[in-house]
Symmetry: D4
Amino acid sequence: MLGPSDLTVYLSGEIHTDWRDQIIAACETVGLRLDFTGPVTDHGASDDCGAAILGEEENPFWRDHKGAKINAIRTTVLMEQADVVVVRFGEKYKQWNAAFDAGYAAALGTPLIVMHPPEHTHALKEINGAAQATCETPEQVAQILTYVQTGRLSGR
Amino acid sequence: MLGPSDLTVYLSGEIHTDWRDQIIAACETVGLRLDFTGPVTDHGASDDCGAAILGEEENPFWRDHKGAKINAIRTTVLMEQADVVVVRFGEKYKQWNAAFDAGYAAALGTPLIVMHPPEHTHALKEINGAAQATCETPEQVAQILTYVQTGRLSGR
Amino acid sequence: MLGPSDLTVYLSGEIHTDWRDQIIAACETVGLRLDFTGPVTDHGASDDCGAAILGEEENPFWRDHKGAKINAIRTTVLMEQADVVVVRFGEKYKQWNAAFDAGYAAALGTPLIVMHPPEHTHALKEINGAAQATCETPEQVAQILTYVQTGRLSGR
Amino acid sequence: MLGPSDLTVYLSGEIHTDWRDQIIAACETVGLRLDFTGPVTDHGASDDCGAAILGEEENPFWRDHKGAKINAIRTTVLMEQADVVVVRFGEKYKQWNAAFDAGYAAALGTPLIVMHPPEHTHALKEINGAAQATCETPEQVAQILTYVQTGRLSGR
Amino acid sequence: MLGPSDLTVYLSGEIHTDWRDQIIAACETVGLRLDFTGPVTDHGASDDCGAAILGEEENPFWRDHKGAKINAIRTTVLMEQADVVVVRFGEKYKQWNAAFDAGYAAALGTPLIVMHPPEHTHALKEINGAAQATCETPEQVAQILTYVQTGRLSGR
Amino acid sequence: MLGPSDLTVYLSGEIHTDWRDQIIAACETVGLRLDFTGPVTDHGASDDCGAAILGEEENPFWRDHKGAKINAIRTTVLMEQADVVVVRFGEKYKQWNAAFDAGYAAALGTPLIVMHPPEHTHALKEINGAAQATCETPEQVAQILTYVQTGRLSGR
Amino acid sequence: MLGPSDLTVYLSGEIHTDWRDQIIAACETVGLRLDFTGPVTDHGASDDCGAAILGEEENPFWRDHKGAKINAIRTTVLMEQADVVVVRFGEKYKQWNAAFDAGYAAALGTPLIVMHPPEHTHALKEINGAAQATCETPEQVAQILTYVQTGRLSGR
Amino acid sequence: MLGPSDLTVYLSGEIHTDWRDQIIAACETVGLRLDFTGPVTDHGASDDCGAAILGEEENPFWRDHKGAKINAIRTTVLMEQADVVVVRFGEKYKQWNAAFDAGYAAALGTPLIVMHPPEHTHALKEINGAAQATCETPEQVAQILTYVQTGRLSGR
């Protein structure tokens, strides 16, 4: 009671596992009223959107550039609308755009939850320092969001 | 007529008496359309949320830290959404987070109503100086909110 | 078509004639979808609200002060929510709070419409200089709002 | 899924062809949930609004001035509400207000899509440099908006 | 010691008496390091600047308009640079631009000192409600600025 | 006296005549203390900077893009630092970046002076509507800046 | 090298011990270039400033109010100018204005250092959660500021 | 001429090569007037600052946390003061804090220059999409800064 009735949560970062679905399902089970948003998770579409819509490019830099900027339209809108940003760092890839989103959220003053495997603790220390919570599993994110909206801890 | 149809009121501060319920009930009696929000008022949950979700800590400083930052997710979201902030200082405890919320509201330019027993007048003078109204009872808060939304003074 | 579907208009200034009702009625006739807001127009309630809710004061300065700050809660909330601010200067009184609201709107970058009798042109030149439109009648305000929302000029 | 459920798109610039209708129709075909807004596209009303509502002017500069500032009420409100701004430069006229809107959007940090014939590439290089996408047809704009909201590329 | 070493004070309002010079002289006597700024106090120049530089106008409204907007360049720059704004209301004239400046300062969150004769207390209650101090004489303004910069009260 | 001691003026727009030098010289004659800034006025350098520093491009769109974005670093910094923006529209070219800068200044709330030949009055009406002054000659700009800083009208 | 050459540090909170002097002396010893600011630490002057300058009040609430708002002029200016805010909580008093300043700094996004005795850890957990560092001694604050400006740790 | 006389450039990212010194030396050779800032580049001090000043921690997470937040004081101050941010991604490590700084700069609207080896083009496409320039060598950064401040291209 008295928690935020409207809460928009942006789920940023790693796109190759189903962590977003796990969070969403866990929150639905508890009956939370949340709007979840996130980047385009179809890796191929995300890479190709610039060339597919605006025309092919020979130079890979500009091909990427066109796609990245179209993706940035969505990201910018959603980051500005978000009340809370969750960023997940996975095991693979450089994931610099996840860290970029974390910096963007920090500059906006939007509360930030970081999820990553324990072996990344040292490498992510600056980002964890800017976050309100650091955790390892989708269940923990769902528990945090449950607590933020309802004030209830699961299992009590 | 012509008052704010949507008005979100954050009720900050003391969590050991039912002052929030009194304000809410009094406003419902008059038929106001307000969204009330507030911190988690289950003292135990508020203290334990960090350790319960993110894991226990031996060092009490970090145990408190984890909980405080999870609570800050909720507080930050609700403070940014609030049109009016009410802060109550009670008889007991240090209540520094109540004063912290008052400073936060003042920096955002959000109108501030302070409620406290008369013996705290001198100690709260800076915060009262930043407030739009200082009062002592939940009824007075309800009357202010009634006037702000409807333009009517009770008893007229 | 393609105009702003949600438009909140704050009607500031003179409270002794029915100019607000005229604007609202004229806009309803045309079928506009507008939210009109404004200050408390019950002069007695506006003057007495501080003393009535927070207790009487012997010193007239503080009696006025308490009332003015409670009125400021409403004004601040509504000015921040407004998409357009209309300020009317009438024939009588100093009306400094009307000019104060105009300055407040200008600093926020909110579009400003000023309505006043022609004899005030020179005295209001700075405020007209900050306004998007200066007019004399409620009908003109309604026509401006009609045009802003629908793109149609009346009589065409 | 997970895209922005509410997305307001301001369609700025050239008013003599039906490019706005083409974008709107193409987005409706795909079933997008978008709010489209734009300037008044009735050229005569746009030129005459000031004189028609506020009174005629002998001096053409002031006649234009009154109209431009009333149009600015609408433009300012809609630009502040927009999540994405699309600016089209056509073949004719100076179209300085289109470029003005692009600069306004850039300063607000609102994502910008520019649509123009290829012969304007060099003259529009600064504006394209500030944009997230440059394209030539309404279909491309609709495809970008489809991708931004749904994450889907047409034809896949 | 430890006060603000650089402090810019904008002196707004009445331009027909030497209250600005009295404040400046009193602050210099105490050895304060302040930058005082203010509007153009040459009434004739202030009224004529638009017509003199940009060309005469037959219509008095536009003559005033051109002048008012050139004055607004100076006012806007100085209001944005000011750390403290002092607004004086005198005995005569409507002085709506003084009240406009007070509203502008309030919206920016800039501390505001209001100086006026006691008979204006009721008419200025909203503006006093937004101010940090209300006083009657230039000496009091100088004493406030002395205290703000040095922490010392005169006569102690 | 009491005018802005530090005043940074960004001179945007047309780069093929010596209008900037005329304004600067006229202001120096009067002894003003102004910091003038502006875009790179070496047309060749401005067009080539991207390719020269970051490498040539076959596609003219990307060649322009690289240059435009490097120029945007300078423009962005200077627009954010400017207290006043002057935009000149000349006789030739599309000059869309001049209009873009005007929109950028308007969104930031920076006072804007527009200079253009009289035949552009109708095409520039929206931009003039957002400006504090519209004039035709560098001398007029210098007179405005003189008045803004010193409060003196030339010839008096 | 490469640290912030200009750094303004506001020292908020407890005014009955010489902790500010200890920090300043320790930083001067290391040769830092810092501007330290803080509230008026003459308790009597701070309590009396309103009554002494603006006139006595019978009602203690208003006597405090006038003083608190004059003190707020200084605090507001200095908090807005500060790059870093240090807040010390001592053993005695309610110290709500210290907590208010911490909340104000947090809302502005200004880095915050909190200094307090260890027994206050639980009561200050929300404020420590919003801070970049929590420490117990002036020497630690000086070491943090040394590190922030020079990148050097003492004793290395 | 007419470029930014004061320009503060934050050099973020990789700390194991002397790329910062190369940029600074190249800019000094040309005679630029720039203030360069950056993070603490002494890796050991950067890792240990929290434990050294605030006390050791058994848990590596909290040891990192204390250090990261003290480093964040410096980073936050410098990022807010910077006119331009340069971010270098090297060959090794995760470098998530470099990407975090890029996101922070993007959210603030500060112009961004990215420097990285060509093999990172695809992984950095989102960050390059948010940047004003992407390059590979310190010489290119120095040439960009030279052009931004002086308008001159080297070798012309």
